[in-house]
């Protein structure tokens, strides 16, 4: 098995060589084929693990690191398969997306080498089971993705977003390091197995929360989410698709991994996670519905979906705490399935958003409109993604949301009043999330694709190349397979849950029962589509011979309407913005009319929404940090003499401390 594991990184390295040697036209293909080959290797291992042959081996990494366990168990396998699929589609889409950069080969070389490295590091994050090695791989992943984000490095905004991401990821690493050191100080081992022994003998709550915060940064739980709305719009779309689809999920992977070692406090942790997740979901989708940058909107929507996944995790934890195997299965199963679902439709949406950006060069949806006529295929792809992400039948989003809903309803049948109340409130929260996501996506879809163009663009948009469309068709094919044959995926998830060692266990009968009822929903989704086709046929036959005319849109008698009179996306969601104005802070820039101004002149008005947590907490904390750090600015005075003095002082202090036995 070692040769397979080694093959995965050797292929990636060869891929990086191939990328640097090849001509700028085929760099993308070189990277994509390296990813494809390396994925084939790891996917084969992952599929083996899922059907019951987990990989377990140890690599000796010298005296310092010691033995590093490399494991692909069922949980890793699930995430590895998700990473591989999304990275492959991302690489092919990106090849088409970056076609215009063919005259900048050095940029492309760097980008595609990093992309291969990025994919490799994500897969290895799921395999390495030693704290120190894990942090190294985790860091490679963060750094490579940061460098991928700042592809458009001549934009100040992009660089800022990249730095923001870099800083936040390192705060996350601090928490993870503290967690691993905590475990190490008690058990003397950095291996993941030590976490289990650690949890067996120590308090579970606080160490778990340290890990949760560390991984929560990556996943984007509020208030740790603020890098997402900056990094996702700034990155090239295939990178945002892979980041939003996969890298965020690795935060979820980390949380799942830590949960799998938990020994007690399930109920309390479940309640904490479920509450935080509902708030994350509502906050995310509220912001998604008001923003006019469509890629930022998708980023906020990712936060929402992390909330939904978190609700599933919370239900699962409460299920373990109250020894209800059904809740355990529905909660964790729904969460794991939603991880897969979200990675699919979010990457699909980011890719089609990328197609729009490539053709129009603007991320402001209020300047677009009527794109359906010039980019019909992209419009259809985005529509499928939008319906699926809203959790509407007959697509795959409904399946996972339905399972999570079922978990909540199962949780209602409880004896504890607190649990019942929590579950009913989460139920209400989840359906508000559903309703708001319909609002957010009708707005985005309507503003981008429907109506008339709001502005004449310098370059007439056209349908994108087949290279960019085919990966999206592939994603839709997989989405439909989940929608119509969910039992296949649920059985795989059942295997994952069977392999986890928790105080409660589920039997195959429960899994078979619930995957059976999911199969029924798959069937009903098919019936639904059949019904739509049936009515469409009836309509087509009945209206074939009827007269049809084309006229202008009804304008209440006004005969000269123009495209700027259309309802804007901002007005569409203004009522939501007003109702939740304490969370959705609108910054307006305008000049008041003065009383002496009898004939007002031309003036400008603009408004935008700012992130509640960022403007109220993070920015303030940063401001005080900068003020505080300002007091120590005298240290860095640019004189070499002072720096030498610092060195001498340091040695002196060390010397004195040793003499007085204060440090050993």
């Amino acid at each position: 098995m070692t040769e397979w594991i080694n093959a995965s990184w050797i292929i990636a390295l060869l891929g990086i060589f191939a990328v640097s040697l090849s001509g700028s036209g085929i760099k993308g293909y070189a990277a994509a084929s390296a990813i494809l080959l390396s994925s084939a290797v790891t996917s084969w291992l992952a599929v083996n693990a899922l059907i019951g042959q987990p990989l377990d081996l140890t690599i000796n990494a010298g005296i310092f690191l010691g033995d590093i366990p490399i494991r692909i168990d069922q949980l890793s396998a699930w995430f590895i398969l998700i990473i591989n699929f999304t990275s492959i589609t991302g690489a092919f889409f990106g090849t088409g997306y970056l076609k215009v950069y063919e005259n900048a080969p050095s940029k492309l070389t760097l980008h595609w080498s990093l992309f291969v490295l990025f994919h490799l590091s994500m897969v290895w994050v799921c395999m390495v089971q030693n704290g120190f090695a894990f942090l190294i791989v985790w860091e490679i992943m963060s750094l490579s993705s940061m460098l991928l984000v700042i592809f458009d490095n001549h934009h100040l905004q992009t660089l800022k977003a990249g730095l923001n991401y870099l800083v936040q990821m390192h705060i996350s690493v601090v928490f993870l390091t503290v967690g691993f050191i905590w475990v190490y100080s008690k058990t003397g081992s950095l291996s993941f197995d030590a976490i289990r022994t650690f949890f067996q003998t120590n308090n579970n709550l606080w160490p778990f929360l340290v890990f949760f915060v560390g991984f929560g940064f990556k996943a984007g739980f509020i208030p740790l989410h603020s890098w997402l709305p900056h990094a996702h719009p700034a990155a090239p779309s295939h990178v945002s698709g892979v980041m939003s689809g996969v890298i965020v999920k690795l935060g979820i992977y980390g949380i799942f991994r830590t949960i799998s070692y938990l020994q007690s406090d399930f109920n309390l942790l479940g309640e904490i996670i479920i509450t935080l997740s509902v708030l994350t979901g509502i906050y995310g989708i509220l912001n998604a519905s008001v923003h006019r940058d469509y890629k930022r909107m998708l980023a906020y929507c990712t936060i929402e979906n992390i909330g939904i996944i978190g609700i599933g995790i919370g239900i699962g934890l409460i299920g373990i705490g109250t020894s209800s195997p059904v809740m355990y299965f529905l909660g964790f199963g729904g969460a794991l399935l939603h991880v897969l679902n979200h990675s699919l439709f979010k990457s699909l949406l980011f890719y089609s958003a990328g197609s729009i950006f490539q053709q129009t060069h603007t991320r402001d949806m209020e300047q677009l409109g009527g794109l359906l006529k010039s980019m019909p295929k992209t419009a259809l792809l985005f529509l499928v993604g939008a319906i699926a992400i809203g959790g509407l039948p007959p697509f795959n989003g409904f399946i996972s949301e339905f399972i999570i809903y079922s978990g909540l309803i199962e949780g209602i049948h409880s004896n504890s009043m607190y649990q019942i109340i929590l579950m009913i409130l989460v139920l209400a929260g989840l359906c508000v999330i559903g309703g708001l996501s319909v609002m957010a996506f009708t707005k985005t879809y309507g503003t981008l694709f429907l109506g008339q163009p709001r502005k004449t663009l310098d370059h007439q948009p056209h349908e994108v190349s087949r290279l960019m469309l085919v990966p999206q068709y592939l994603i839709i094919a997989l989405m439909l397979s989940i929608a119509f044959v969910p039992q296949f995926y649920l059985n795989a998830i059942g295997n994952i849950l069977l392999s986890m060692r928790f105080p409660i266990s589920i039997d195959t009968i429960t899994i078979a029962f619930y995957s059976g009822s999911a199969a029924k929903i798959g069937l009903i989704s098919l019936i639904f589509i059949g019904l739509i086709c049936l009515f469409w046929l009836i309509r087509a036959t009945l209206t074939r011979k009827k007269p049809q005319a084309t006229e202008t849109t009804w304008g209440c008698g006004y005969v000269a309407p123009n495209s700027s009179m259309q309802y804007s996306g901002k007005s569409f969601t203004k009522p939501v913005g007003k109702l939740f104005n304490s969370l959705l802070i609108e910054k307006k820039n305008f000049e008041e009319f003065k009383p002496e101004e009898i004939f007002p002149e031309k003036r400008k008005y603009d408004s935008n929404y700012v992130d509640f947590f960022e403007s109220n907490f993070i920015d303030k904390i940063t401001k005080y940090l900068i003020i505080g750090a300002g007091y120590f600015r005298f240290i860095q005075n640019g004189r070499t003499q002072s720096y030498v003095l610092y060195g001498i002082l340091f040695i002196l202090i060390m010397f004195l401390l040793t003499i007085f036995n204060l440090i050993k």
Binding site: I420, L427, M439, G451
Partner: protein, 301 residues
Amino acid sequence: MLSFILILLAAFFFTGVINRTKSILSGRKGPGIFQPVKDVLRLFKKGAVYSKTTSFIFQIAPTIYFSSVVMAMLVVPFGQSKGIISFNGDFIFFAYALALGKFFSIIAALDTGSSFEGMGASREALYSMFAEPAFFILLGSLALLTGKTSFHEIFADFHLGSSISYALAVLSAFVLGMITMIENSRMPIDDPKTHLELTMVHEVMILDNSGFDLGLILSAGLLKFSIYGALIVNLFIGIFPYQYTIPMFFAIQILAAVIIGTIESFMARFRMSHNAQFIFALTSVSLLIFFGVLMVLGKFI
């Protein structure tokens, strides 16, 4: 199957009864109660005018909207007899199937590029979003009360035992009734008879639809009324045998229609800006039911 036929039958007269009530109360003779159905049939025979701005979305949306309502209709049970589709958690499917129809009717309205229709679409999206928690908390509470999770089992087990369960049934009927009004864009949320595009909600979204498509939208509206009526009926019929429940079904449907007609005759529409709060307040009634259920079950500690 039974529920499907009954809902279909009720759809024929429900809107007609509302209109008739309104006309009698305003001192007119009014059209016959089958007039709405005749209108729909006439529309089915007509040709259509499409806007130049619209795309295929505008053409498929009415069909999908209609299908989603039919799909929702399939899961509604009737007393002891199941709906055609019945499974655990089918009420989630009910709400989400309707939401798909709404999704398409909203984007169809945006497809016309008319600011009026965009305005209506925005309101429709907002109101239906606010109505959803009320529905889910209500059904969640009933699921808690009966210990079941499908429409059919919940309603079959909804025994009217103690007097507080009667109160629960009446409150639930109130919530469902208000949701009916919101979903069908009726008073006090929306005034279907208004002539000013700026104050419309649902009517303005379908301004550009004509011919067969308009017929589909209107017939979906007729069906929606009787679907929600059937849900209300289900709260009361429980385990009674069919010879009582079928007449009761029609009696309650007609009563509901008459009440809606009466409300519409004597009430004015709420201010648009207050609608959202009003609808959200419905959730508190649902929460009342929820706490009632907790009390009935003795789980209040």
